[in-house]
Amino acid sequence: MMKQLNKFLIITSIAILGGFYSCQEFETEPQDAITDVNTPDEVAAVLFSAYNSIYGMMGNHGNYFSVQEVSTDEAVIPTRGGDWGDGGIWVRCQRHTYTPEEGYFEGSWNSCYTAINQINNGFLEYEGNAGLTAEVKSELRALRALYYFFLLDGFGNVPIITEAGNQGQKSRAEVYDFIMSEIQDIKPNLFTGNYIGRMDYWTMQALYAKMLLNKEVYAGTAPNWQDVIDACDEIINSGLYSLSSNYQSIFDQNNGGNSEHIYAIPFDEVYATGHNLGQMTLHYRSIDTYGAQQQPWNGYASLAEFYNLYIDPSINPGPQGDVVGIDANASITTGTRDARLVNFLVGDQKDQAGNLLTDDSAEANDPNGQTLTFTPYINELEPGALRQAGARINKYTFYDGFKPDLNNDKPIFRYTDILLMKAEAMHRMNAGDGLSIVNTIRARAGVDAFSTLTDENLLQERGREMFFEMWRRNDLIRFGKFNDAWTFHDADASDHVNLFPIPQTIVEASGLTQNPGY
């Protein structure tokens, strides 16, 4: 009896255990994530996330924007004693000795292609979904074209990947043609009003004009200048955009929807974070100037040579006034009083109560001693740049209590640029034409009109006006000046540096051909 009971128990227990285990199916989907995307709102939330890559690459230190700026004569990150050495990456950027292994190239590349792949995948995934209308699709193709433009301008010979698949690495001219054909194809379906922070007809029109203007660089063939003029005129004549009477208001924290913005990246301290120029450029102690939330890092500055473009009366004629000079002591000199000097912070720095700030750790050889004074003059690029050296970049005007992520939107295409592009095309067609347009812009800055327009003063005017808007490298290359020597940059031995190297990791992983010279 006992034995039978035992056997019964064994068999029952094994059966029950088996039942217990088999009913424990593996769960395959996370409870705390969204795996089912269906409704038009959800689909839109997925599709439009492709906009988010641009915040980091155009706002945040160490990405596309940084290398566009620091490789030019308008911005530099000096190595300040122990600070900002960063393994030499910023010194190499300024000197054009960058290598395919620099992290900023990999970051830039991945930011672009992540967004491109998201867009392509969205087209495949949500084909036929009510959230993916023809208008939405055109807008996303426009956004994709913009990312390809960043790749074209930076890396040149890049793979073209669309929803139809990876078409392989293309020459820069082919990438140019691809973007142009995309623009032509989608323009009719784009929103023709002014879409804030989103791709609309006018963004693509501005991109179209920019492409035509740089055709020589991108495609190796001479631009048709009349086409550039026509493209710019379409925007000018739209009536949607106008010159802002106040230069600073184009860039301040409330600049959203400014009359000059054709397309601006809509940064926000809560929703669209990444624009952290305050942290990057201001001195540690500047926290007290603004009551900023976090302490800045004392990095980016402009070069004295560039700052001088604004105040040297021989370069920038205008009403004479007191300006902070370029000597090591940041002493007051008389120079041109250009309204656009608000682009910089120079001279003594004060706290919110108006007291002078001091940097107790200022180097013994700092001519200004411990009083915190930003000097346009930078004693050396590395390793011993003075802590206080360099005019600081105040283009996107800092405000009281600013947080590490700024509210200031960053224009990519703006009305004045279109005007200057038109003037440049006119000047190329017939030297000297376009002068009146340039003088309109100079008048807003409160400086005297030019009497003639030359390559040189046009490039300088673009520099003054478009400072730190990520176009300087593009301008220098188009004007043939990117390889010239400036303060911290010896003349390049070869112009291969006009294209960034394709990131080493990408070359290895995807088997791409590296750009020449690297």
Binding site: A45, D86, G291
Partner: protein, 981 residues
């Protein structure tokens, strides 16, 4: 619901086994040791049957229904066993002799125990009497240095930091890198869950063949913790252990004092002279009280143990207290056929992490700055200077709060039932619930993390619920065939881990008064700057396992472990993995009968195990709300983004390992020990890659099987037992591990430089070179030659192109992985005194000394200067973010790690037994040329923690002495223990 119902049924069935009836006794006797003392709880068994008994308090036993012929065997742990022919007798007495031979040692292995002679793999055992003593906060410290091949590293002395445990160096740098830890056969979250006072022994399964039975999580070895259980005594035994420890700072970063600082270039004098490290340090006073009661009768034993520990670190306001209550009940029924074991654990701890960063800022702050500045009301009267990465460390530890509360409840029930005379079925269920909360508060006046926040409160809760069901059949039969003993196991396990949590933070608070307790009182929520998050996931694991062990012709053993395991971390394509181990051994001493050895066993094994990172659903690419896209009219809408690309083909990491070993013991047990050679290859390492749009086009990131690494080494264990007299004995034990080589065979890219030095200014200054074909742990940088006339450093132009160029001229200049690790214990007994001296060392590894890199000869005068013996007056400035041999130092060391002197009072008290007093010192001396805080091996890079940020650690970058290293302490402990009877 269905699950719960089934669980109940399962227990009903198991409990049903308990019904039984008992017959009358026919064989009885006593069991005593050599000296005639009764052995309580010895096991009696009629060979070839399931009949058996356990001796009682007088050493007596009685067996019902005993046969009139056959063999009866008595055995007792530590005393070997003895067999007698029954021959019709009804009274059979046994005298068992104590036996120290490792031959008879019972070793805990996966899902059971084996005799030492049956072991074919590399399995180490450390018993309670051999544990490290002193101020032990974590169970792993009990065996630090005691097991060859197991490296336990806890640089500095933060009582709240868990140590890094590495088995046989590096076998993976992808998935989990810590061993699987099981307490009484059940996987736990960490060793912190078990109180050191409750541990009977710790066993380590080192080779893949042995750990293969745990399959997918066995790659980093398996630590099997066996807890103490009740013993059969006449009256309950009450034991008390208590200790009092004093811990003080032994070594911190060496920085200049105020007068020396002022003599240096660019010094800024604020007029004071403060030893900031002293200001934030304390002598940590810690107490541990443990009270246990155990006892029982022939069929039921129990043990209840409670421990309260109150531990203070050397950093002010740091430490923890913990109360741990453990109850254990063993019961046998049905004439010993059914054995039941249940245990319950309740533990509650409260931790004050304080801010270990304070050690860094105490080292780097200008020593002439006064601590207080009454006029600075914005910072509550503390002196704060607005410089980058600069905090008043006294304010940091006094103003801010960083705490944790943790509750752990565990219960386990196990039934073993002898189905047939050789066949035992085991069923067990264990539940482990861990709930915790973290709290942080940075008041309005705090600069550290609170700057610009006007008060910042942070709270998070987390909950981990782990359930384990195990069932297996064990068939064990001597002479299954002629000359073949068999031991086989077949089983099934299911484990489910549910994790959920919630976190929130808010700033801009109305008042400091409510600290982190009124999160709603902050306005950051309205400003969009508050934080909120939650998670919930379930990990499931199902395993089928088996073991076949053949003992052949007395001297040979053949052992096979098998496991087929599935885990929902992986998709259907690769959900299951098969893991196996096979091993054989031959007792050469027995075969050759040379007489020189009691024991000389040759072992060889080969096996494969798996590994995977923590976390559930690794193969999926779920959408999460991430960021906001512009809505076109100046506003924003939330966007959904993949958190990573899915990878349906993600599969187990797989390690295969070949192990060759000898166990030996010379005649008379004078010398004993083991030697093991291992050779390991791990493939398909799982790495989380980011910035890789080639593999992961949608997000650039995801999990991939990309790495491969191989390593080999030798482990040595030697005991000497030659001086063993009543008046004096000396028993030295040497353990050492030789790391022969390791090779990175495959990576996600041909080479990569990782591990940046951090702020200020070196966020892109990488220190570690990973390259396919290279070694793991390569420190990369320039070769420093000296100083030129201008005070500038000279670096070697290695490629001979005329000048030193960063990157181009950098080479491998060090290794973070040691060549040799050694533990050397000396146990002395003389009369009533006992003493032990334990040395521990590691050799052949280098460390990047980041304190020196940043602050020795620093050009930035705001920071104090590091002034080690390496300080060179001639070098004027920081050598421009170049990691060089100047700051990469040899970190060979020998520590007098643990010294104990104890005295046991000879007592003849009616009530008190075994009163022992002891004194102990930990960290008494360190012999090293390394100039940093602690030369311990850094297996893991903790990452840089700058300017109030949080670190991310990286398994791929050993060899970096970050500025996070806590002060190295020295501890003196006084303790007492006795038993009441």
């Amino acid at each position: 619901m269905k699950k719960k119902l089934n669980l109940k049924l399962l227990f009903l069935v198991a409990v049903c086994f308990a019904f039984t009836n008992i017959a009358n006794a026919q064989i009885s006797g006593t069991i005593t040791d050599d000296s005639g003392e009764p052995l309580i709880g010895a096991t009696i068994r009629i060979e070839g049957t399931t009949q058996g008994a356990i001796s009682d308090i007088d050493g007596s036993y009685s067996l019902p229904d005993g046969p009139s012929s056959g063999t009866i065997t008595a055995s007792y742990v530590g005393y070997g066993s003895k067999s007698e022919e029954i021959d019709g007798r009804s009274t059979i007495d046994f005298v068992l002799s104590g036996d120290n031979s490792i031959l008879d040692e019972v070793v805990v292995v996966g899902y059971g125990v084996q005799n030492r002679e049956e072991i074919t793999g590399a399995v180490a055992q450390v018993k309670a009497e051999d544990f490290n003593q002193g101020n032990i906060a974590d169970a792993s410290a009990l065996i630090q240095g005691k097991v060859a091949g197991v490296s336990i590293s806890r640089p500095g002395g933060d009582p709240n930091s868990a140590p890094n445990i590495r088995l046989r160096g590096i076998s993976t740098f992808g998935g989990a890198t810590s061993p699987l830890i099981l307490v009484d056969g059940v996987a736990v979250n960490s060793l912190e869950e078990i109180d050191p006072n409750d541990i009977e022994s710790m066993n380590v399964l080192k080779d893949a063949a042995s750990s293969a039975i745990y399959g997918a999580r066995g790659s980093n070895g398996v630590i099997l913790v066996t807890t103490k259980s009740g013993t059969f005594t006449k009256t309950p035994k009450i034991s008390y252990n208590g200790q009092l420890s004093f811990e003080s700072v032994n070594k911190t970063a060496e920085v200049a004092d105020a007068s020396r600082y002022l003599s240096m270039p660019n010094a800024v004098d604020y007029g004071s002279s403060v030893d900031y490290i002293d200001e934030i340090s304390q002598t940590g006073v810690s107490t541990v009280q443990n009270l246990s009661i155990d006892g029982g009768n022939e069929i039921t034993t129990y043990r209840i143990s409670g421990t309260y520990r109150d531990v203070e670190g050397t950093l002010r306001n740091s430490g923890f207290n913990q109360f741990n209550l453990r109850g254990n009940l063993n019961h046998t029924a049905m004439e010993g056929k059914l054995r039941m074991n249940g245990n319950l654990v309740m533990a509650r701890s409260h931790r004050d992490y304080s801010f270990p960063e304070a050690f860094r800022y105490a080292a780097t702050i200008n020593p002439t700055i006064p601590i207080y500045d009454a006029t600075n009301t914005a910072n509550a009267g503390y002196n704060e200077i607005d410089l980058f990465d600069y905090y008043n460390p006294v304010a940091m530890v006094e103003q801010n709060t960083n705490q944790n509360d943790n509750n752990n409840y565990k219960g386990a029930l196990q039934f073993d039932y002898d189905l047939m005379e050789d066949l035992t079925a085991t069923v067990s269920y264990a539940m482990n619930v861990n709930t915790g909360q973290n709290y942080q508060y940075y008041p309005k006046e705090a600069r550290f993390r609170g700057q610009g926040r006007n008060g910042l409160a942070d709270r998070s809760t987390f909950n981990t619920e782990r359930q384990t069901v195990q069932t297996y059949l064990n068939y064990k039969r001597d002479e299954l065939f002629t000359n073949v003993n068999f031991d086989g196991l077949l089983g099934y396990t299911y484990e489910q881990i549910d994790r959920d949590g919630f976190n929130s933070s808010n700033g801009d608070l109305v008042s400091n008064d409510a600290s982190y307790n009124q999160l709603g009182s902050g306005s950051d929520l309205q400003a969009g700057l508050a934080g909120l998050g939650s998670y919930n996931n379930r990990q499931q694991l199902r395993g089928y396992f088996g073991r076949l062990n053949f003992g052949i012709a007395q001297y040979y053993n053949l052992n096979t472990n098998l496991r087929y395991e599935g885990n929902n971390a992986f998709g259907e394509n690769e959900q299951y993995g098969f893991f196996y181990g096979i091993g054989g051994s031959a007792d050469i001493a027995g075969i050759t009968d040379s007489g020189k050895f009691d024991f000389l066993k040759f072992r060889a094994s080969y096996g494969s195990t798996g590994n995977l990172p923590g976390g559930a659903y690794l193969y999926t690419g779920p959408y999460v709300q991430s960021g906001y896209y512009p809505d076109g009219s100046g506003g924003f809408a939330p966007s959904l983004a993949l958190s990573r690309d899915p990878n349906p083909n993600l599969k187990w990491e797989e390690k295969s390992e070949f192990n060759l070993g000898f166990d030996f013991e010379t005649t008379g047990a004078i010398f004993g020990g083991a030697i093991d050679y291992f050779n390991t290859t791990s493939n398909d390492l799982i790495l989380f890659l980011s910035g890789d749009t080639d593999r992961f086009p949608l997000t650039g990131q995801g999990f991939a099987n990309v790495g491969s690494i191989s390593s080999s080494g030798l482990e040595l264990l030697v005991n000497y037992n030659g001086i063993d007299r009543e008046s004096f004995s000396w028993k030295p034990t040497l353990t050492s591990t030789f790391y022969f080589s390791n090779k990175l065979k495959k990576l996600d890219r041909p080479s990569e430089r990782i591990a940046n030095a951090g702020a200020p200014g070196n966020n892109s200054t990488n220190m570690i070179l990973l390259e396919e074909g290279g070694s793991f742990g390569q420190i990369y940088g320039a070769t420093y030659e000296g100083v030129d006339a201008n005070g500038e450093p000279i670096f070697t132009d290695t490629n001979g192109d005329g000048s030193y160029v960063p990157l181009d001229d950098n080479t491998v200049i060090g290794s973070g992985v040691p060549d040799i690790e050694v533990g050397f214990n000396n146990q002395f007994n003389f009369g009533n005194w006992d003493a032990s001296v334990f040395f521990r060392g590691a050799f052949g590894h280098q460390l990047v000394n980041l304190y020196r890199f940043f602050y020795e000869n620093s050009a930035t005068s705001s920071y104090n200067r590091v002034v080690t013996d390496n300080y060179n007056e001639a070098l004027s400035v920081t050598p421009n973010s170049t990691i060089s041999t100047r700051v990469v130092e040899n970190a060979n060391f020998v520590k007098i790690d643990n010294v104990v002197l104890g005295y046991t009072f000879p007592m003849n008290s009616k009530y008190v037994d075994g009163l022992r007093l002891f004194g102990n010192s930990q960290g008494l001396a360190t012999i090293t040329g390394y100039s940093g805080i602690d030369p311990e091996v850094r297996w893991v890079d903790t990452g840089s923690v700058d300017n109030g940020g949080y670190a991310t650690s990286d398994n791929r970058a050993p060899g970096i002495d970050r500025r996070t290293t806590y002060a190295r302490p020295m501890t003196f402990t006084f303790g007492a223990g006795f038993t009441l009877k």
